[in-house]
């Protein structure tokens, strides 16, 4: 546990301190998140792994500035998060592209909106089109793209903003298995190049271990961080990393934690 007194020289990019989130629903108050403490260091790829309904997307929404905690603090660069900001940009599960803009206009939406000069973002856009494999699709509309291609646009339009923290909310969750591993590889290659801090939400154990430096395993409702693991696999990681003995060891550990959790949840279930 990091002591506030012995803070490391590098300040965290984002920090959650004692965060609680409650929703008032039809059946009274629902505690979505309980006592979340989380730090994301510069250049860290942090994954949050948990079952559906554990509040992991709520956690990301609070860092993004879409939602506020009921109690506790969400800090970005030491400042409380109050609204969305391009320095903390989000890749959503549904790519959430603007259907009335073509690929190029979707990617340049951010820089244009923020008043960046075309001479400034132009070369960045060109490089990104190449990196994410969208060359030749600039004039296509989102409706003409497959799920994987849409998500490439979703990633490119965020990276063009050169965010300090990349927030990814199960970005490959709705893709088929093959496309998903292609996209994971793509994300790794892009991340090796830019090395920004990432908060990656997923329910896929292998995905979390393949991509992340640290994995926070969450409990079912109310969502708490059960354990934080360091993934000490060497980088760059090819997809074959998922077959290494160390990977399997880590996977066994995570699966054990999840199993423990689901057994506890099942015994707590009143019905």
């Amino acid at each position: 546990m990091p002591e506030p007194a012995r803070r490391p020289a590098t300040a965290p990019v984002a920090e959650l301190r004692g965060v609680f989130k409650e929703f008032s629903g039809r059946s009274g108050r629902l505690v979505a998140l309980e006592g979340i403490d989380l730090r994301i260091e510069p250049k860290e790829f942090a994954a949050v792994l948990g079952p559906s309904g554990c509040g992991k997307s709520t956690l990301l929404n609070m860092v993004a500035g879409f939602d506020r905690p009921t109690r506790g603090e969400v800090l970005f660069r030491g400042q409380p998060v109050s609204r969305p900001d391009p320095r903390r940009s989000v890749v959503f599960q549904e790519a959430a592209l603007f259907p009335w803009f073509n690929v190029l206009d979707n990617i340049t939406f951010g820089p244009k909106t923020c008043g960046v000069a075309a001479a400034d973002y132009g070369p960045r856009v060109e490089a990104l089109l190449e990196q994410v494999g969208l060359r030749g699709f600039e004039r296509h509309y989102p409706a003409e793209l497959s799920g994987g291609m849409k998500q490439r646009v979703g990633i490119a339009r965020v990276l063009v903003m050169e965010p300090e923290l990349l927030l990814m909310d199960e970005p490959f969750g709705s893709l088929d298995a093959q496309t998903r591993s292609v996209m994971q590889e793509l994300l790794l290659s892009v991340w090796e190049r830019h090395h920004q801090a990432v908060l990656f939400i997923t329910h896929d154990v292998e995905e979390a271990l393949l991509l992340a430096d640290t994995v926070c395993v969450m409990t079912a409702r109310p969502g708490r961080i059960k354990k934080r693991l360091s993934v000490d696999l060497p980088r760059p990681r090819p997809l074959e990393a998922t077959t290494s003995p160390r990977f399997n060891e880590l996977k066994r550990e995570v699966l054990g934690l999840i199993r423990e959790e689901s057994l506890r949840a099942a015994s707590d279930e009143p019905r």
């Binding site: 879409f66 940009s89 009335w100």
Partner: protein, 264 residues
């Protein structure tokens, strides 16, 4: 597959014309009240292409002028309505305070039929174009404002978040996200609105002004020219259809991204 070559859309109209023709020829209807299709066509032709004479045939050659009268009123009233209703609809759909302020009044006034406003319009604006414009504008205002505000309210939350996290302020969100997202609904409102505009122009011209197709319709009825009445009905139907098609084509050009979505 083979069905493509048969002009299906013609079957019902031809059938109806046949029944109409027979009904007149076989005297199923009282003689001299309902004109035969051929007679209507001939009257219509003379109404359009005939030389204008004042004495024997007062309608001869006056069709274009009357279409222009009515068409101009529809265009002006409709444009006025769209100009007010689209921005207002956007604010009602976007801002909860504006909605609470304006929406109840709109919903309360909306059920009042355009025909019920007629005496009021004449009393306030007199027997002038202003009366017609008021009725047309009011009639087409409701469907446009209601559909616009619905479209705005239906904007995908994820797209709003996407725009905001990319740095968009309120103005950019409204212009680049909310407006395009509401456009399909806005066009639906415009199509419904132009339909109401043609209804309103006929009603207004029948009573509140002394020119246009509605005036001709009422006048022809009074002097027993049912052939002209029927020709007027066809004319209005045709104009309504054409104006709807214009809006439809415009929407297909503007909403190209959406037609792609449907084919995907």
């Amino acid at each position: 597959m083979g069905g493509r070559r048969i002009p299906w859309f013609l079957i019902l109209p031809v059938l109806l014309l046949g029944v109409w023709h027979l009904a007149v020829e076989q005297r199923w209807v009282t003689e001299g009240i309902i004109p035969a299709p051929a007679q209507v066509l001939e009257s219509w032709r003379r109404w359009i292409f005939g030389a204008p004479t004042k004495s024997l045939s007062p309608y001869s050659g006056t069709w274009v002028a009357n279409v222009l009268y009515s068409g101009r009123r529809v265009l002006e009233g409709f444009a006025l309505a769209a100009l007010v209703a689209i921005p207002l609809g956007i604010f009602v759909g976007w801002n909860r305070l504006v909605a609470r302020l304006v929406d109840p009044s709109i919903q309360l006034l909306r059920p009042v039929p355009i025909t019920a406003w007629l005496p009021f319009a004449i009393a306030v604006f007199g027997i002038y174009d202003a009366s017609a414009l008021f009725l047309i504008g009011l009639g087409s205002f409701y469907p446009i404002v209601v559909n616009t505000s619905h479209g705005v309210r239906d904007t995908n939350l994820l797209l709003l978040r996407a725009a905001r996290m990319l740095g968009a302020g309120e103005r950019t969100v409204l212009l680049k996200v909310v407006l395009p997202s509401a456009l399909p609904s806005i066009f639906t409102g415009l199509r419904l609105g132009v339909g109401v505009a043609w209804t309103a122009v006929i009603v207004a011209e029948m009573i509140a002004v002394k020119s246009g197709l509605g005036y001709v319709l009422w006048d022809a009825y009074y002097v027993g020219r049912m052939d002209i009445c029927v020709a007027t009905m066809f004319s209005v139907g045709l104009l309504g259809f054409v104006s709807d098609q214009i809006i439809l084509r415009a929407s297909q050009v503007v909403l190209r991204w959406r037609t792609l979505e449907r084919h995907a």
